[in-house]
Homo-oligomer: 739 residues x 2
């Protein structure tokens, strides 16, 4: 079929000839959904033209640990450019960051979420002036137009004239508390720092002199770690990760690039864990990353926890999707409908599937590399059994594998145990966990979790079979789910890293040995002999399966190379110079404790292999000792807070009561902060239960035996339970569902 | 800081006390972006309340191959439920599907894309009535309200009264050509078929009797393949994939579930390929799946091709993102800015990174499992070199690995070669490819591509270094990119599968051998001896690393099991019954040719291992023969179309000219269709160049030697070039950028 194309004017002609009257043609960008549609129209409707949009921003300035930060609240036209850099400069405050939910709540108690920040909802004077900088966009204050503001929440909106907004704010604060700012002028005076995206462009400026890395213009890439682990832990952590080339920042907040140095560690974990679960009869599969709204809804109660963090795809190309599609934050609702479809006979059980994938949780809290990221890699296992006993056994089998990932691969000690009722994954019957410890901060961190879901999900999704014995009718399957994420890499770095940089366990290090030529002399070709010796050594090691590399880069001093490889955490350095060669030895330097010892070059392959095993072993032992010494059994409440403040984990005789757990948290928190009132530190977190260790015996019998009372409530104690401050407030990223 | 929460009413009180007047509070769902905002307001503005939205849909009914389909155009209120099932029933047409872009273009020549379907743009009578069913929503035709319609494209919109729309359509078609339909009534009379999502719910109805699989109520799961490979290829393909348990359909169109049966094959490919590229010094990494708009824009010219297929995330939880974020359709713009950042010195080259990930291309064409899916798994390698020579060598090294994936792992023959100028990846200097062949359809299909990008991208992203010899100044890196996707699994199925189902090559089959007990007798425990023999056999085979399983499922006849495992393509079946046991043998049955032969049970492990190798080898040989016989050298134009029609691939003496390639396509297409006019088949595609094989010698010297002319244009021929019809019109899913 062929036909002549019809143009707009042809159509308009036809209309004319038919005397069909119509308004002017509205030109606008492509639309399908009614929302944008009406939006387009609205711009042509006089009554709307004059309505302006506003934004309210709450910032937290960076302050010394000893000072309480004074937040900055900015109310401006949506169109106004409000550079946090410029505002900071104006108020002489450092590094303004968008406030955390917690801070928002304390400033605006009425706000339910970060979407509900509203200047109108500020508590009345005098609180304001003492505790907050209040900034009003001058162009807004002076505007005669109506502007849209939320009331206490984003569910209600009100239209106000600019001047009315000012009078309103003035009315709830002391004289001149509201500071009018002309942002246009401000911008001119203090240009915002350039975005990372701009970096590559900055390159032209760079000219290269040796050593190249030593004069990289981006400060993040300076040699040597800028921060001390004990002094500024989070600064140290980021610096080590970037200079160690584990990851790089990305131009989308909360997303990071996993460079080969870290991704290879994840691959090592994958290979080992995947082999192990296959021995257990688990099979790998891949489900789509997209979830339909309907599917997500089906689990409404369960998703409430993470619904605020679901990312939604609403457009493809230029067209809107019929209905938004979610990116999986986890896969229950993706997978279980098909479990129901595939499982028809008791012969179809057990069904054991696992997938290695990435999931997305659009966290609004401050992101942390590996620990809290918006996209992260993990494995999620989802299994279904005919009997509870089989399921229960698997929960423990998997947990044991998780323990080995930490202890055997990452050389990180963890304690396996059961979560308390408050801390378990709400969707399941019980949660088991391996709990880690970060000595520098004295905080506990969850390593990985293995959940028994009971029949909660099989009921919801009708995952059921005829009973083998007909009379019993249909049986609901018993399910487990278990997950381990790239968070484990962050824990490893925090536990082993030091002021020189990364410290990698040999078993997971992409490069286990670096060979550095030393005692070099000036002049072309003078060092060929040494270089050849290094390459021979490299070959020797590679032959026996050691991941070794000789660093023969020209133009770098040995000292510079030492520093470079220390920063990157290579477990073992072998130095080779004229004297070593003469003596047929090499100087071996252990990264983790800098211990030096000469090694005979004869049979070097086996020598090094055994040495690496020893390093792996001692790194774990060293970390284990530290963990053990910071694990304090406390039987008297008065010792709780002091022991926490001394950066320890508590082991308490506990009644296992939910209310009691809340009380422990509150009581320890308030006491800690009372104690700190005078030297006004930032408020300390309360103690949460980490787990009830399976190995109760390691803590010995209760002092009072049968009559042992719970440290907090005095009820009969049921178990030794680990309590501590957590590195992350919500420590459930590894859970299949967030709380 | 603690303060009392402020409520809406408190705020309203304050306003009142300050005598600030304001309109009523508008209640609406949370908004941040101005578009939704205004949208919300608009609903409260009288002048807009009466504006209705419309939709225009173009359907293609399923028709016999011998008939030309008559499309159905539906113009209805946006709110009207227009069930394609119901419309089909009304018009007595089968399986209405949304029309392809091509069909849209032929019906509405003015439409630039599927977003531009507009009834107003229909060509005038008489074309309409002959070639299209025109349906108008009665409730729209009778509406007094103004309704919004696009003109020729979605860039312009017009408001028309319902009755005016009807007069307009009447005016451009013959009397009564416009069919008014009351969809509400239609729906009542013909309910739409239930969505797959509903399936699990339907389960209650099911009660189980043996054999379970035999009475699965979902017809997709019936035993035996419903279609013959030669009669309905696409029906056969889908049926085989689902019954073979390679994948399952998902409730989001274009997305599929990779079940262990197929995912394990992908893992085998991954493990083998990953080892090989690591030998070449490539390292794995992981870049985020999200791309900022700015980054995507940077490559504007290059993304134009797939921009229409980019999926956009615009919301997280309830809040709109500051700006939409894309899901990577490929990773150039994601990765290369960081290449520019990381590559500062010639010492930083070569940089060789690869990632195993999933990418999203929101195809609007009919999806095809494995071949055209909206999310697919692949590896994408991106490398940068100091010299063109190094880069050129890698291009070929990688292509050779791709060849081996197909021939050595999947037993699928492919021909390595260079793409023509028209068919190469536009962003690069040249494209190499391995080309496969689907005998059943006589179509060519691209297996995987390895591109040399030259300096095109390094120029764009400034990936440059100081020359080692200072005088040369800065040098731009030479780059390659190469990709292999899960499409390869689809090709394998199409090549080897038969009317009984899947046929898997032993090397990639998750299960290589199935052991089936035969000659069973009725009665408890009677068969224990046979079962034990089967389990022993299984142990024997597993011991030597063979993936074998004994199928001891109760309640299934041996015949049913044979059929079940044939459908799933297990390469080798071993039958074991009393007579076999007595003779200390087992009957071995090859899946690919059903050849039967008894095997001694002594040393069975080695026997089977060798036998599996032989099967792998002969499957490739069989497919290779087929390919070779369908590879026809043609030196006379008159033979071109007949040879194509006989389901062959052409090898032509060709001048390699772009214009000539277009002419070959057009000329072969028109001739083919002229030939078919009388028995009016569906139009045939023209011949496209598949590749210029590197191995020219296999086709011998040109008949006329030096003076050989191009078959089409008569210019001097440069090479033997493969031409053929393509399985997919756009055969570039494996390319890093779509055309």
């Amino acid at each position: 079929m062929s036909a002549q194309a019809v143009t707009d004017s042809v159509i308009l002609e036809r209309l004319k000839s038919l005397q069909i009257s119509h308004p002017d043609v509205i030109s606008h960008s492509p639309v399908k959904g009614s929302a944008e549609w009406a939006a387009e129209l609205s711009t042509t409707v006089p009554t709307l033209a004059s309505v302006g949009l506003t934004k309210t921003l709450l910032f937290k300035p960076k302050t010394a640990k000893t000072a309480t930060p004074t937040p900055v609240l900015v109310l401006a036209k949506d169109s106004t450019e409000t550079s946090s850099g410029a505002i900071g400069k104006l108020l002489e405050l450092k590094e303004l960051r968008l406030a955390s939910e917690d801070l928002i709540k304390s400033v605006l108690p009425s706000s339910a979420s970060k979407d509900d920040v509203s200047a109108l909802a500020l508590p009345a004077s005098p609180t304001i002036d003492e505790n907050i900088h209040l900034i009003l966009d001058q162009s807004l204050a002076q505007s005669q137009d109506q502007h849209a503001l939320h009331l206490t929440s984003s569910n209600t909106t009100i239209l106000l004239k600019g001047q009315d907004i000012k009078s309103y704010l003035d009315s709830i604060s002391k004289d001149n508390a509201v500071r009018l700012v002309d942002f246009a002028e401000l911008k001119a005076s203090a240009p915002a720092p350039s975005a990372p995206a701009a970096r590559p462009a900055a390159k032209e400026k760079k000219t290269e002199t040796k050593p190249a890395a030593a004069q990289e213009d981006d400060e993040k890439y300076n040699m040597a770690i800028k921060y001390k682990k004990d002094e500024d832990f989070s600064g140290w952590y980021t610096d080590v990760l970037i200079k160690g080339q584990m990851l790089d920042y990305y131009d989308i907040s909360g997303c990071y690039i996993l460079r080969p140095w870290s991704y290879s560690i994840w691959q090592t974990i994958q290979t080992w864990f995947d082999d192990e679960i296959k021995k257990l009869g688990v099979q790998d599969c891949y489900f789509p990353m997209f979830v339909s709204n309907a599917r997500l809804e089906k689990e409404k109660d369960h998703i409430e926890g993470f619904a605020p963090e679901v990312a939604w795809v609403t457009k493809a190309g230029k067209s809107d999707l019929e209905e938004p599609i979610a990116i999986r934050p986890t896969s229950e609702t993706v997978m279980y409908p098909y479990y129901a479809k595939w499982i028809n006979s008791h012969r179809d059980l057990p069904l054991k599937l696992n997938q290695w994938n990435s999931v997305v949780r659009w966290e609004f809290k401050n992101p942390q590399p590996f620990l809290r990221t918006r996209e992260f890699l993990w494995q999620e296992g989802h299994t279904a059994f005919l009997t509870k006993a089989e399921a229960a056994k698997e929960v423990m089998d998997i947990l044991e594998l998780y323990r080995k990932v930490y202890t055997d691969l990452l050389a990180v000690p963890v304690i396996p145990g059961k979560k308390s009722e408050n801390e378990k994954f709400a969707g399941g019957d019980y949660t088991t966990t391996v709990e880690g410890f970060i000595p520098t901060t004295g905080r506990g961190i969850q390593g990985a979790t293995s959940h028994h879901l009971g029949q909660n999900f099989s009921k919801m999704f009708d995952i059921s079979v005829e009973s083998p014995n007909k009379d019993e009718g249909r049986l609901l399957a018993y399910q487990n789910s278990w997950g381990l994420s790239t968070r484990s890499l962050g824990v490893m770095v925090m536990v082993h890293g030091d002021d020189q940089g990364l410290v990698l366990p040999p078993r997971v290090a992409l490069q286990q040995v670096v060979i550095v030529p030393v005692g070099l002399s000036k002049g072309e070709g003078k060092n060929q002999g040494i270089y050849d010796a290094c390459l021979n050594l490299e070959r020797e090691l590679v032959k026996v399966g050691i991941r070794a590399k000789a660093d023969l880069r020209e133009g770098y001093t040995p000292g510079w190379k030492f520093n470079d490889w220390e920063m990157r955490g290579v477990p073992l350095r072998l130095e080779l110079g004229p004297r070593d060669i003469a003596a047929n030895t090499t100087l071996a330097v252990r990264r983790y404790d800098n211990h030096k010892s000469p090694m005979p070059l004869s049979d070097i392959g086996n020598t090094v292999r055994l040495y690496l095993d020893e390093i792996q072993k001692s790194m774990l032992e060293k970390a284990q000792e530290k963990f053990d010494t910071c694990l304090k059994t406390v039987t008297n409440w008065d010792d709780v807070v002091p022991t926490l403040d001394a950066k320890n984990i508590l082991v308490l005789p506990w009644c296992e009561g939910s209310q009691c757990e809340d009380d422990i948290k509150e009581r320890s928190k308030s006491q800690a902060n009372k104690g700190q009132a005078e030297d006004n530190k930032a408020p300390s977190a309360g103690a949460k239960s980490l787990c009830i260790p399976f190995d109760q015996d390691r803590f010995g019998k209760f002092p009072e035996g049968e009559n042992q009372k719970c440290v907090q409530c005095g009820q009969k104690a049921k178990s030794w339970t680990m309590f501590g401050r957590r590195l992350l407030a919500d420590d459930l990223i590894d859970c299949l569902l967030l709380k």
